[in-house]
């Protein structure tokens, strides 16, 4: 059953409130900028796509347009950070961190500066733009870097809250955003804390650990499994990939004895890897992965692609059943 203390939106409301995580980022950025004048925005020629238009309108002197130059985006931002600014530097995830990784490594992480990398249009759900623009590797690229926090919000409202939290975090971070409009699971009253997993649903049979738009799909899968087979799943919203909430993952693994991860990313290096690394060493329960299996994306409608690549509610249900079968 759904946990009440997190004040999630009701099922009908969730489906009515359709928005993309990039929308929430755009709102959060304006709110954060209102309370901290050190905050600036830099964008590599994708101002509207990243929903930074309102920020630019409200704070024109604190917004820097740089054109198509993703390496500059990060290195320039690092310079601003060295001067005491808090830069949010944004592009599509395929280009930043895709193209700007070494600048993030050297000029940001090793340099110890307070800068937030914002990667939009991540995942297959970008849709028609095709494989070049569908970042499926960005979590892996970011989570291996020391001094880097990695956030994947589950909906637009959470993206807003995450943006506010990141503006207050003294350190470098990556915020992963999507283009597709998805149900808004969380409400303005849902708490958000970096590094703290949210248990959206409680159950004893399997724990589903998900991030991004797969959280909503995991909740639906859990409800269907309960109704169809009497299988009760926990659903953990792992919005912070790094630092991972070890305690919450381990306690869910102990309680359920099996785990499924669900992400819109390559399994290699992503959430599935992150959770496996922890479980393998501390609590080796059966684990199944829902994610992209070492393939590039392609053009298509969002849902059509998620089906082709095995990222549907049914895929999660099958993974849960497999995980349960593997329990001793």
């Amino acid at each position: 059953m759904t946990k009440q203390n997190l004040k999630l939106n009701g099922p009908d409301e969730q489906k009515k409130l359709l928005a993309a995580t990039r929308d929430g980022f755009g709102q959060g950025l304006v709110e954060a900028a209102e309370s901290d004048e050190r905050l600036i925005g830099i964008c590599a020629d994708l101002t509207e796509s990243l929903k930074m238009t309102e920020f630019e309108r409200r704070f024109p002197k604190r917004f820097v347009r740089i054109g198509v130059s993703e390496q500059l985006l990060v290195a320039l931002g690092a310079g601003f950070a060295l001067a005491g600014k808090i830069p949010f530097v944004a592009s599509f995830a395929a280009f930043s961190p895709g193209r700007s990784w070494e600048q993030i490594r050297t000029n940001v992480c090793l340099n110890g500066v307070n800068l937030k990398v914002v990667g939009g249009h991540a995942g297959l759900s970008v849709g028609a733009d095709g494989a070049t623009h569908q970042a499926l590797e960005d979590i892996a690229l970011m989570r291996c870097l020391p001094n880097m926090t990695v956030i994947v919000p589950c909906d637009s409202e959470q993206a807003r809250r995450a943006t506010l939290a990141l503006a207050e975090l003294d350190g470098s971070a990556y915020l992963r955003l999507g283009r597709a409009k998805t149900p808004t699971l969380t409400s303005a009253d849902t708490p958000f804390e970096i590094g703290r997993i949210q248990t959206f649903r409680d159950g004893d049979d399997t724990a589903i650990v998900a991030c991004g738009l797969m959280v909503g799909k995991s909740l639906q899968a859990a409800e269907e499994l309960a109704a169809e087979d009497g299988i009760e799943c926990s659903v953990l919203n792992c919005h912070t990939i790094k630092p991972l909430d070890d305690e919450a993952v381990l306690s869910a693994a102990e309680k359920c004895g099996a785990m499924v991860t669900a992400e819109e990313h390559q399994i290699a290096g992503g959430l599935g890897s992150t959770v496996s690394e922890l479980l393998a060493q501390n609590m080796p329960v059966p684990i199944e992965f829902v994610g992209v299996h070492d393939r590039f994306g392609q053009s298509g409608e969002s849902e059509e692609l998620l089906t082709e690549y095995g990222l549907t509610v049914n895929d999660i249900k099958s993974a849960v059943r497999r995980a349960i079968r593997r329990k001793k």
């Binding site: 290195a75 320039l76 060295l82 600014k85």
Partner: protein
């Protein structure tokens, strides 16, 4: 604190030749490092720390200080020695260069040594950070200036030119890029590996002010930065032509000394040559 040092030009030349001796000793002791670029840029380092920069070695985080970024981080021995001589840290720490636990890392790390401004080594990223600093200073109405030292070889990096475009567009008059134009990179002469000429015209075309100088003449370096300060509508690039390996006959203009430490015998010879130069300069000053 402005111009904490007031050495005469003769005294600064003597200082530079002493710094060169320390550079040779450090790289020899470390067993690896980059002597040619370090020796070539010693005069620029002396000009920066003893004439040009508004800084306070005892207060490296002073908010109103000028920012000096070393983009070609591999010539950090020249910066380390000059910083020590300027009073940032005790000179006896210099021989720890590249040692385990040393603050003097093989390539400079901001978080380890106060006063470095930024971590560098991977080439091409210094000017972009400098542009961010310069833009931020202007946003806040601050009058401190940003200086970025870049190598000629790193002009092969696309990121550097992204920053050149950006600084030109935004008329960052408070930004000065000094090019260590010694004509060599690891694989050979720059004009053979990837020609940069006409370099002056390239910067001009990107809406920069360009000044060409003898980078081994401390007076020229100081004069050029003064001209940069009076340029009102664009950033300035100072192309500092210099002799790599300057002061050590067998290292001068030889790209093989880009990244190689001298052995015992070579060290002895290099130091003897530099000491002889120091004696001559001292006689002239006296």
């Amino acid at each position: 604190m402005n111009h904490t040092h007031n050495e005469s030009s003769g005294e600064m030349e003597i200082l530079a030749v002493r710094i060169r001796q320390d550079i040779i000793k450090m790289i020899h002791a470390a067993g690896s490092g980059h002597p040619a670029g370090s020796l070539g840029m010693t005069d620029v380092m002396v000009a920066l720390y003893f004439r040009i920069l508004r800084h306070d070695p005892k207060n490296p985080d002073w908010p109103e200080r000028d920012r000096f970024l070393l983009s070609n981080g591999h010539i950090c021995p020249a910066r380390y020695v000059t910083m020590a001589r300027a009073g940032y840290f005790p000179p006896d720490e210099l021989l720890t260069l590249r040692d385990f636990g040393s603050r003097l890392q093989g390539h400079p790390e901001r978080l380890r040594l106060p006063g470095l401004e930024s971590t560098s080594g991977p080439l091409g990223a210094g000017l972009a950070q400098g542009a961010g600093l310069a833009y931020a200073a202007r946003m806040d109405g601050q009058d401190w200036r940003t200086y970025v030292l870049t190598s000629d070889g790193e002009h092969g990096a696309g990121l550097h030119w992204e920053a050149v475009l950006f600084a030109g567009k935004n008329r960052l008059t408070n930004l000065t890029c000094i090019v260590d134009r010694n004509g060599i990179q690891i694989d050979g002469p720059t004009e053979e590996v990837m020609p940069l000429e006409p370099l002056r015209e390239k910067y001009l075309a990107f809406n920069w002010n360009v000044i060409e100088i003898d980078g081994n003449d401390i007076g020229h370096v100081v004069e050029a930065t003064e001209l940069a300060k009076s340029t009102e509508d664009r950033p300035t690039c100072i192309i500092a032509k210099n002799v790599p390996g300057r002061g050590v006959s067998f290292m001068e203009n030889d790209h093989r000394w880009h990244g190689q430490a001298p052995n015992d015998e070579e060290t002895e010879q290099a130091l003897a040559e530099l000491q002889e130069t120091e004696r001559e300069l001292t006689m002239n000053v006296d």
